[in-house]
């Protein structure tokens, strides 16, 4: 039977040589190499559950009055978009399962990408010839953030409506072009024209998924064509030779297991843990807001930044050149993503290392890079934490304004300290290893004589 299928395919596609190569393609073996795959499988689930959701969502902002099954919202005026999601959540069998799985998957998607990105950065996998692969991946991260933001904003509930107003303000705050840019996207001043909702919808269900899918294919093709990097674990691995597990039979059940496991975790979450219970938040209205509103976790660094920047607009001659949200909402992410994109070239310039690399470095083997990267991670993480200062105040009683001042100092001081400290730690660890190796050699020599 297998013979029949293989010959059928080969006669019609000429595919057997490729298949033979593909089946015995070698995968270097380390658990951290699987993180990117996790993101891939999450993306598949996002598309599958997402398609289901499109069958129920009404991308219309026009107002209606609710008379459905959820009593606390009887008589409330809301958009048809919001109503369709309440209906899907509370009246459609398995609707809430699909919706929650989709939303958990979105949160986990970005988390998986970030973990994968950190692994790539800290092991030097982005170096030539994989800098293009890396840039493609960084672009997918940006798209994933945008996609998630659009996805939960489409629902038009109280929390995400507030989030859209903030997004609008950041767009508005771009120097000189902000007003034109924001009114262009929104079709007018906030809350925008009726066309804004279909725009979000099409971007979220068509344009960005296609972009991600194309970039993903390019990313995987590039990885396969240049082969995966590897750690040097023995004499056999080198810049010329890759050692690992072949696709078939070794890697296939492992990858399949990862895929099923990922989907299993997401469906379990989707059924058991409530996420974004929009019927509790109520519909968005321009004049309403709630305490404790937060964006989804992957935008937490932006709310932290917006809360940390002190109160000032830059005004020259009656023109507000730089409104306040620009610094935290636009410049800060631009700098972080700029660093991310330029990292391979920055490193080449600053370290002088322009060679090709197929072997990975353990983080400690490149103390400067590890120190610098961790400094940036600490910087972003501190800003991220600042966004929870109100919750910390509510739970632990630490004054909000004191926390904000502490964070303002910390975001300048701690990254610098981190860089020097981590670089030192890496160097000490390496020195320790060297000493142990010398001692081992001496012992071996003594044993021989």
């Amino acid at each position: 039977m297998i013979r029949g299928i293989v010959r059928f395919v080969d006669e019609r596609t000429g595919g057997s040589p490729f298949l033979k190569k593909a089946l015995r393609y070698v995968f270097p073996d380390h658990w951290s190499f699987l993180l990117g795959e996790v993101a891939l499988y999450v993306f598949m689930l996002l598309v599958a559950t997402g398609v289901y959701l499109t069958f129920f969502f009404d991308d219309s902002r026009s107002q209606t009055v609710y008379h459905g099954s959820y009593a606390p919202l009887h008589g409330a005026s809301m958009s048809r978009a919001y109503e369709s999601v309440v209906h899907l959540s509370l009246d459609v069998r398995a609707g809430l399962l699909m919706r929650q799985t989709h939303h958990w998957a979105a949160d986990v998607f970005v988390a998986a990408i970030v973990l994968h990105l950190l692994r790539v950065l800290f092991t030097g996998a982005f170096r030539k010839p994989r800098d293009l692969t890396y840039v493609v991946g960084a672009t997918m991260l940006v798209l994933a953030l945008l996609e998630g933001y659009l996805g939960y904003s489409m629902v038009d509930d109280l929390l995400s409506g507030m989030g859209l107003a903030i997004g609008y303000s950041v767009a508005l705050s771009l120097p000189i072009v902000g007003a034109k840019f924001a009114t262009l996207l929104w079709g007018g001043p906030f809350p925008g024209s009726d066309a804004f909702w279909p725009r979000m919808y099409i971007a979220h269900v068509l344009i960005i998924p296609i972009l991600i899918a194309v970039l993903l294919s390019v990313h995987l093709l590039l990885v396969a064509s240049r082969h995966h990097t590897q750690f040097q674990k023995s004499e056999r691995e080198s810049e010329q030779t890759v050692v690992g597990v072949p696709t078939f039979p070794g890697q296939a059940p492992r990858s399949l297991g990862l895929m099923f496991g990922t989907w299993g975790v997401l469906f379990l979450l989707g059924g058991l843990a409530q996420i974004n219970p929009i019927w509790l938040w109520g519909p968005y209205h321009v004049g309403d807001s709630t305490n404790g509103a937060q964006p989804d976790w992957y935008l937490g660094w932006l709310i932290g930044a917006l809360r940390l920047v002190p109160s000032f607009d830059i005004v020259i001659g009656g023109y507000t050149l730089v409104p306040n949200p620009f610094w935290g909402g636009a410049l800060f992410p631009a700098v972080v993503f700029g660093l991310l994109y330029l990292w391979p070239w920055l490193e080449r310039k600053l370290s002088g290392d322009i060679a090709f690399h197929n072997l990975l470095e353990r983080p400690r083997e490149n103390p400067t890079r590890t120190g610098a990267l961790l400094a940036i991670v600490v910087w972003v993480f501190l800003v991220f934490m600042a966004g929870s200062a109100d919750r910390v105040y509510v739970f632990l009683g630490l004054s909000y304004s004191h926390q904000i001042w502490a964070y303002r100092v910390a975001v300048v001081v701690l990254p610098v300290v981190t860089f020097f400290a981590i670089r030192r730690v890496c160097r000490e660890l390496l020195a320790g290893e060297l000493v142990r190796e010398i001692q081992r050699d001496a012992k071996d020599k003594a044993a021989v004589t």
Binding site: S234, G261, W281, Y393
Partner: protein, 225 residues
């Protein structure tokens, strides 16, 4: 004879309330509830309503007038509370204790009222939050009566809402919604405290990401070389 006793009873309650007051409240609120400079406001005309609220929530007594009152264990006995309430109520002509009837209200009307007037501070399902300089308490421990009292009084930094803004009927609906919000419809499962993306992010990292990294470690076990 019965009438005489009946007349005597509240007076008697107020009397021992007076001694309780003197022992526990007069330092800050003055010997006859006239207030005491920076230590405490006057209690004249605040009525039984205010005393009932502040005492039953444990907001009062407050050791430090500069501190925010917080819900705490009531150290007075039920009898003592009644006596104190009666005494404070007798200082001037203040409002009586309200008796809300949330069963007469409509939850959906209450939801709209809560979103318009309360959610900014108390969070849309009453989980509390932050206002500049103070903590806004969650509402899950607030009884119907305490809510009715607080809405009218506006304790500490909370604004007050009189009958012109929120009629008694509105208040019944508001309380009906608050009661609902204490155990709302959690069709999605584990409610994560109804705090939204903040705990959701923690689940994403500490449960999901941790599980998936664990899965990677189990699957990607190094081969023996």
């Amino acid at each position: 004879m019965v009438t005489l006793l009946a007349l005597a009873a509240p007076a008697a309650a107020a009397d021992s309330g007076k001694s309780l007051y003197a022992a526990n409240c007069s330092t800050c609120h003055g010997s006859i509830g006239e207030g005491n400079g920076m230590r405490g406001p006057t209690l004249r005309n605040v009525g039984a309503r205010a005393a009932d609220f502040y005492l039953r929530t444990g907001y009062m007594p407050l050791e430090d007038p500069g501190r925010q009152p917080t819900r705490s264990r009531v150290l007075f006995s039920e009898q003592d509370v009644r006596r104190l309430v009666a005494y404070v109520g007798s200082l001037g002509h203040g409002p009586v204790i309200p008796h809300p009837q949330p069963s007469r209200g409509t939850v959906s009307v209450g939801q709209k009222l809560f979103a318009d007037h309360c959610a900014g501070c108390h969070q849309i399902v009453g989980e509390g939050g932050y206002v500049t300089g103070a903590r806004v308490p969650p509402l899950e421990d607030a009884t119907d009566r305490q809510v009715a009292e607080a809405v009218r009084i506006g304790p500490y930094l909370m604004p007050r809402f009189s009958k012109t803004q929120l009629t008694d009927r509105d208040l019944n609906s508001l309380i009906a919604y608050i009661d609902y919000a204490k155990h709302p419809d959690d069709a999605g499962g584990w409610a994560l405290g109804h705090l939204g993306p903040w705990p959701e992010g923690m689940v994403t990292w500490f449960l999901a990401a941790a599980a998936l990294v664990g899965l990677c470690v189990v699957i990607g076990k190094r081969l023996p070389s």
